[in-house]
């Protein structure tokens, strides 16, 4: 059976002797089409016929490859050394490299040293076009070599690679093989043996592809693989150059140090605020969970996210964070470190509490990835060395070498770090690829997605093939399998414009008087079967990512907005959870889960549902069901709050935005209305119920979600901040925290409570998915919800975790079978890790997208705004600008402020700035530095001589365009309060309104006011106002809107899932505060009118501005609707105070929808046109009404 095989025993270990077999084979193919050797050929056949594994042992290497090189003109194969794969992958990935033989030795070495390189290499091997062959030299009878005595593993591997070259040159006489290596020693030895060999640079330079040279990684003089020579080399370099950094320890020393407890291992996280400070988070160290690092030498070339070994400094040298906000200067300061700069940093104050500090002594694992950023072109005209500024602040600048600096100027590029020698202040890197011009929206979006690792390619064909064909009908057999709930009065309650409806509800009264409540979730797992391409893709994406102007779906749109979406246009598959609930105390008597078929009777918005509940005249079954649900939900919520659930989500600020300028008109604390909270409660209940169920059936492999309670020390900043206002926050339990937050109110400062809650969210840990078999039950707790067990079940359209939970639940109720991977703990945990990662990245990407658009918004304007101090730093204040939901840093720029660390406060010229103080700041974008456009804040008030700036004067700034428009708008477009339009009070009766309406009509009738545009507009407004206020329903709706009632939103973020919130705000000092706009009181008929109007407009608009609006087709559909809404608002703005995310506004602005002269003209034209059309309609109407009136009289 087995071919005769030699046996070799490898030994290792210090105490233990481990003996392993190592079979050497004689059936390993050389992979060349040239080869005529029988062994090679037969092995290929056997390989393919006998094993199920798809391994690449076909004859991939071409028989007569063309040589692209000028030094090696003969046809040849390339054999790269490990260091080439590790460092020059960017070059090798170019398609000019073909016919490459990867030794198995190299493959293993790469795998050991860098997982990311390994993955790239695997991908390369699996690309058939590239003709890359993996030669299994380690198990080859003729090529295998044993380690010699005293030979280092590296030398042995190099020798093994040379052996392969030798084998090939003998085995294939017609073709040359070339060893590619950057290891001088290896090259030398190879040449001595008479093998062809070249360094990467030599080879690439011979390729007549100059742009490839840029991609060559900078070579470190001292290479990590040559540890032996290190001493000698450093001696020589010391003579030549100024050494900046201390040496890194060898890996063996680090291991010894870790073992003895002298060194600690941890993840290096550099500070966002100060590039000379960083923290290392240690693994499993209770005494020092994190170690603080300060100063160049102590940071010692570590880069954000690296795994490093740190040494604790003696206590006398411990430092405190300087509270300085320090950003790296723009210019290349060369390879010296300014001693002074560092000394300034480390000023030890004896009275302040010091943090355990340390220094990096070695890097255990680099976690470098390609970074997006910009080239900062050197001042010297012909220089080839330039600095690269990464988009991520925590990554140091990178020095790269390129000859195409002119081309790359003002472009976003991707750069990889290669090494960081001791004598260089900056790491050395190389150019990888070009993304596009800076500031271009597509480029910036791409940067954003790349930086957050969001897969955004279109769905491949294999995925689309998995979709069901249309028209889709429910087959009979499914009908028998599923519970038929089509008779029930089920409805969905969602934000308006929501296309992916994944939940619906119902409630009926059972004969015994109890309620039967049901939550019906889209049965996505029916369409996404395990193991299919669509499943793999969804798993990879894990979540739908929401950007300002883009939505990156997890599953193709056919599923997300049609087949899985529980719309009211036909029967749908659902997964239903049914409870029997006692109406008085909401006690659950019985729980059932079923796969079902439902027929939604109505897709309601929150506002509509609320209206139905409140409308005393409506008594249909659906409405009564809603009322019952609402009643139960209230009890459930009270119960939950009693148990100590934190209500951080419900107290966000919400912005009422002006529909025209994106100015927030009003800021109110967001109040969740009953319907929002009703849906939320039932979703929570469903999630908890399902979590219990799947954990009961699958205790080892349930996919759950936990939110660990934060350590008490996390709350320190919160407590300290509250103390400055003499408020005590108790943090012992979630309950106490919730209660004390509730009571912490400052009457003078509207935002005090909100800001406290913001600080609280930052103290939170991150909620995580996990596999129940790998954690003790005591850790399942969900802190924020105060639930002992929790999972995600209710949004399978946009989260992969929910799909897994659906499958588990289906298996638990015997509606579906399990499959191996579902029950594999490790595999599940891996999936969970990926979901956690993607989730986090999706959040960050969304936030970054908001940031990006905020910057674009402020690009051409300067605004004075209220701001509140969130944190007091040594040289800056961090402020919250509630109006835009922005957070920014107000630098003092060396102005002599006196810093009081204990209070904390900053004082200058007798003006004291404290925590939570209200300021006025001027916001502008510093566009001088194209590299990084930064938002600049300047203090306006309180006035500090020499520091604060003059308040913005409305008309004296450069934005006359906007101001003109503002005036125009104020005059005609906009009339926020309908009651004011009619000149009546809010409590006016219907009669009073009618009277006022006639009076105003007369006054502003266009016939009596010819040549007066204003009155014309006013007249229309009056008509609109009357339309709204005369009808009881619309009036109530409008009243609600005036009270700041949220009618729901077209965007996901406002459907607040408490669990999401913890993730959103977790520990991120850079976080942006989401702003919620509000679109009120729009019911469906109005909406339809609207759509018609915008269609008309849009057709016209398009024909006029074909070129101005290239992005239009990229909108995801809900957004499109929003945009149209805003366009159409010209018609209906009198009663629709449109609200929208201000980021959407930014987008509009950015597209010059409003403010470019072209568009404005188009808009004005359009408006006049519509107005005229409307006018005749209005006149008819008025006439009719008058006639009616007269008749009545």
């Amino acid at each position: 059976m087995i071919d005769k095989i030699f046996m070799k025993k490898t030994r290792r270990g210090n105490v233990l002797k481990i003996v392993r077999e190592h079979y050497l084979r004689d059936d390993i193919s050389c992979g060349s089409q040239l080869c005529s050797n029988m062994a090679c050929l037969t092995s290929n056949q056997t390989n393919h016929s006998k094993t199920s594994i798809n391994f690449k042992s076909g004859l991939v290497l071409e028989s007569s490859p063309k040589s692209p090189s000028s030094i090696f003109t003969d046809p040849h194969y390339l054999i790269p050394d490990t260091n080439i794969i590790l460092h020059q992958m960017d070059v090798i990935e170019d398609s000019i490299f073909k016919n490459i033989i990867i030794c198995y030795t190299v493959l293993q070495e790469v795998k050991q040293k860098s997982i990311s390189s390994y993955q790239r290499l695997t991908q390369l091997i699996n690309t058939p076009d590239r003709k890359v062959f993996c030669f299994v030299n380690e198990y080859h009878r003729d090529v295998f070599i044993a380690k010699l005595d005293g030979e280092s593993p590296n030398d042995r591997n190099d020798r093994a690679i040379r052996e392969v070259c030798k084998y090939y040159s003998q085995h294939l006489s017609d073709i040359k093989v070339i060893l590619l290596s950057d290891d001088a020693n290896n090259l030398k030895l190879a040449r001595e043996q008479g093998l062809l060999a070249a360094s990467c640079r030599e080879y690439v330079e011979s390729l007549s592809r100059p742009e490839l040279i840029d991609r060559i990684a900078a070579k470190e003089e001292k290479r990590s693989t040559e540890e032996i020579d290190e001493k000698q080399l450093t001696d020589t370099t010391r003579k030549n150059k100024h050494i900046i950094f201390p040496e890194h320890l060898k890996l063996s020393d680090i291991q010894a140090g870790l073992k003895s407890g002298k060194l600690f291992q941890g993840t290096y996280q550099s500070s966002r605020e100060n590039y000379l400070e960083a923290n290392v988070f240690l693994y499993d160290n209770e005494k020092y969970p994190q170690i603080f690092l300060q100063g160049y030498r102590n940071l010692n070339r570590a880069v954000h996210d690296d795994v490093v070994a740190v040494e604790l400094l003696p206590e006398s040298e411990w430092a405190t964070p300087t509270s300085l906000v320090l950003e790296e200067g723009a210019e290349d300061v060369g390879d010296y470190v300014n001693e002074k700069e560092e000394d300034e940093q480390i000023i030890n104050k004896p009275d302040v509490k010091k943090l355990p500090s340390g220094r990096v002594v070695g890097i255990i694992k680099r976690n470098w990835r390609p970074y997006c950023g910009m080239l900062q072109v050197s001042d010297l005209p012909d220089a080839t060395r330039h600095m690269f500024m990464p988009a991520e602040k925590r990554i140091p600048k990178i020095r790269i070498e390129t000859r195409q600096s002119e081309k790359l100027k003002n472009q976003r590029i991707v750069v990889s770090i290669d090494c960081w020698p001791r004598d260089s202040r900056y790491p050395l890197g190389h150019f990888v690829r070009l993304l596009g011009p800076v500031g271009d929206k597509d480029t910036e979006n791409q940067v954003l997605l790349l930086e957050h690792d969001v897969p955004n390619y279109p769905f491949p064909q294999s995925v689309l093939d998995c979709l069901p064909t249309l028209p889709w009908i429910i087959p009979e057999e499914e009908k028998t399998k599923r519970l038929d709930l089509t008779k029930f009065d089920i409805c969905s309650v969602d934000p308006p414009g929501c296309t992916d409806i994944d939940d619906a509800l119902h409630c009926i009264v059972l004969p015994n008087g109890n309620y039967q409540c049901g939550v019906h979730i889209a049965d996505v797992s029916h369409f996404i079967r395990p193991g299919t391409a669509i499943d793999d893709e969804a798993k990879r994406r894990s979540t739908t990512v929401y950007l300002v102007d883009q939505r990156i779906d997890m599953v193709p749109a056919l599923l997300s907005s049609n087949l899985c979406s529980l719309r009211d246009d036909g029967p749908r598959y659902a997964f239903s959870v049914l409870w029997e609930i006692q109406p008085d105390d909401a006690k659950i008597v019985k729980t059932e889960c079923h796969k079902s078929i439902i027929l939604s009777k109505a897709s309601l918005t929150y506002a509509q549902a609320q209206m139905k509940i409140d409308d005393k005249t409506a008594n249909d079954e659906l409405t009564q069901g809603l009322r019952r649900l609402n009643k139960v939900a209230k009890i459930l919520k009270a119960e939950r709050i009693k148990n100590g659930a934190l209500t951080l989500a419900s107290n966000e600020i919400r912005f009422n935005l002006d529909s025209e300028t994106h100015d927030p008109i009003d800021v109110v604390t967001k109040e969740l209305k009953e319907t929002n909270s009703m849906v939320e409660e039932f979703m929570l209940l469903a999630n908890i119920t399902v979590a219990k169920k799947i954990y009961e059936i699958f205790p080892q492999c349930a996919c759950l979600r936990r939110h660990p309670s934060p350590p008490i020390s996390n709350f320190d900043p919160l407590i300290k901040a509250a103390e400055s206002k003499n408020i005590k926050i108790e943090v012992d339990t979630g309950k106490k925290l919730a209660d004390s937050l509730e009571t912490a109110v400052d009457r003078d400062n509207l935002f005090f409570n909100t800001m406290l809650r913001m600080l609280t969210t930052r103290c939170m840990m991150q909620a995580l998915y996990f596999c129940s078999g790998l954690f003790p039950e005591s850790e399942f707790e969900h802190y924020g919800l105060a639930a002992p067990i929790y999972t995600h079940f209710t949004s399978p359209i946009r989260r992969y975790a929910d799909i897994i939970v659906h499958r588990l639940l289906a298996a638990a109720i015997h509606a579906d079978t399990t499959y191996p991977e579902l029950l594999d703990k490790q595999a599940l945990q891996q999936t969970c890790n990926n979901m956690n990662y993607r989730h986090k990245m999706a959040q960050y990407a969304g936030r970054a997208s908001v940031d990006l658009h905020t910057q674009l918004f402020f690009r051409n304007r300067q605004v004075d705004e209220e701001a509140y101090v969130l944190a007091v730093k040594k040289n800056a204040l961090q402020v919250l600008i509630p109006r835009y939901g922005l957070e920014g840093t107000l630098y003092f720029n060396d102005f002599p402020f006196v810093y009081d660390e204990l209070e904390p406060s900053q004082t200058a010229n007798n003006v004291k700035l404290k925590l939570f103080d209200k300021l006025i700041v001027k916001i502008s974008i510093d566009s001088q530095n194209v590299q990084h456009q930064k938002m600049r804040l300047h203090l306006v008030s309180p006035k500090i001589e020499g520091f604060s700036v003059e308040p913005e004067k409305m008309k004296s700034n450069g934005d006359q365009e906007i101001n003109q428009l503002n005036i125009l708008r104020k005059a005609s477009w906009k009339n926020p309060n309908l009651y004011e339009v009619l000149g009546v009070s809010k409590t006016a009766t219907a009669k009073e309104i009618k009277v006022a309406y006639y009076q105003k009509c007369k006054e502003f009738h266009p016939d009596t006011n010819k040549n007066n545009n204003k009155s014309h507009d006013k007249f229309i407004n009056i008509q609109k106002a009357y339309d709204t206020l005369s009808d009881n329903n619309t009036r109530r709706d409008y009243d609600l809107s005036l009270q700041g009632y949220s009618a729901g939103t077209g965007n996901r973020y406002t459907r607040s899932n408490p669990a999401d919130v913890y993730q959103t705000y977790h520990n991120n000092p850079n976080q942006t505060y989401y702003h919620y706009g509000n679109r009120e009181g729009m019911n469906y008929s109005e909406f339809e009118k609207f759509m018609r109007a915008r269609q008309a407009f849009y057709a016209q608009y398009n024909s006029q501005n074909k070129n101005t609006n290239p992005d239009d087709n990229n909108f995801s559909s809900p957004l499109k609707v929003m945009i149209y809404l805003i366009i159409g608002i010209g018609l209906f703005e009198a009663f629709t105070v449109s609200w929208i995310y201000d980021r959407d506004m930014n987008y509009l602005h950015d597209n010059n929808y409003r403010y470019s002269p072209n568009n404005r003209q188009a808009l004005i034209d359009f408006r006049n046109q519509v107005n005229q059309a409307d006018m005749s309609e209005l006149e008819d109407k008025i006439r009719d009404k008058k006639e009616m009136e007269e008749k009545a009289k």
Binding site: M1, I2, I18, V19, E21, T51, S57, K111, P820
Partner: protein, 246 residues
């Protein structure tokens, strides 16, 4: 244990393909004192088996059965078999369990009814352990029984199987065994396709079972081929010697 089966080259960590056995070496009649004996090594796993009997029941008549022979097994692991020296060669739960498995297996194949009121002793000792100990024991015991001339229905061949990346690996070594992936042991009568023992202490999804069983059965038959070849050649030499004697 990430690289137990390299996804690119499709070889296991010791260079075998997933469906390949380790090198099997065997020898029977190694001890003169015992009625039958055999040494089997599968790779680095080395096992010696000795068979005594059939003989009168030890421990009095009370333990004997009137219609068939009693099979007495003992499984033990030599103190020097592993990487660390063990203090107690037998008596722990593992060896007790193995003993009972062995007993079950051989009660099924030995034609015990031919030897009423007698006893057959099977002693196996693991000399060197590198995974799949039980399989090697069964295979060695089979050879020893054959050597002792005790009539059996068929060879019993045992093979272990594990599962990595959806691929069944047969005849697993220690490294593969301790990787935490599911594995089980199957003892088969290769000529009848009858399973005499299927033992597993790990969890696996039922979907994999068929696939793994199939590979394990193929493995058993491969082992059978090796053992049978050896026995044939040995019988050949014996008969040659015998005919020479005559």
């Amino acid at each position: 244990m990430a690289t137990l089966l390299d996804p690119i080259i499709g070889l296991r960590i010791d260079g075998r393909r997933p469906n390949e056995l380790r090198k099997i070496q065997c020898e029977v009649g190694v001890f003169a004192q015992a009625d039958g004996s055999a040494i089997v090594s599968q790779g680095n796993t080395k096992v010696v088996a000795t068979v005594y009997g059939p003989h009168e029941n030890r421990g009095g008549r009370s333990k004997s059965l009137h219609d068939k022979a009693v099979i007495n097994c003992q499984y033990s692991v030599a103190t020097f078999s592993g990487t660390e020296r063990k203090n107690k060669p037998h008596g722990d739960w593992k060896t007790v369990e193995m003993t009972s498995h062995l007993k079950q297996t051989f009660e099924a194949v030995i034609l015990t009814e031919k030897f009423p009121k007698s006893q057959i002793d099977i002693y196996v000792e693991v000399l060197q352990s590198d995974g799949s100990n039980y399989c090697a024991c069964v295979n060695a015991a089979t050879l020893a029984i054959i050597d002792a001339g005790i009539p059996i229905k068929d060879y019993v061949c045992a093979c272990s199987v594990s599962l990595i990346r959806d691929t069944p690996l047969i005849d697993i070594n220690h490294l593969e065994e301790s990787s935490g992936s599911p594995h089980f042991t199957l003892a088969l009568l290769p000529n009848y396709d009858q399973i005499v023992l299927l033992e597993s202490a790990s969890r696996m999804h039922v979907d994999y079972l068929d696939k793994m069983m199939e590979s394990a059965m193929v493995g058993c038959k491969d082992i059978y081929a090796v053992l049978n070849k050896y026995i044939k050649s040995r019988v050949g030499t014996i008969s040659k010697n015998f005919s020479n004697l005559i």
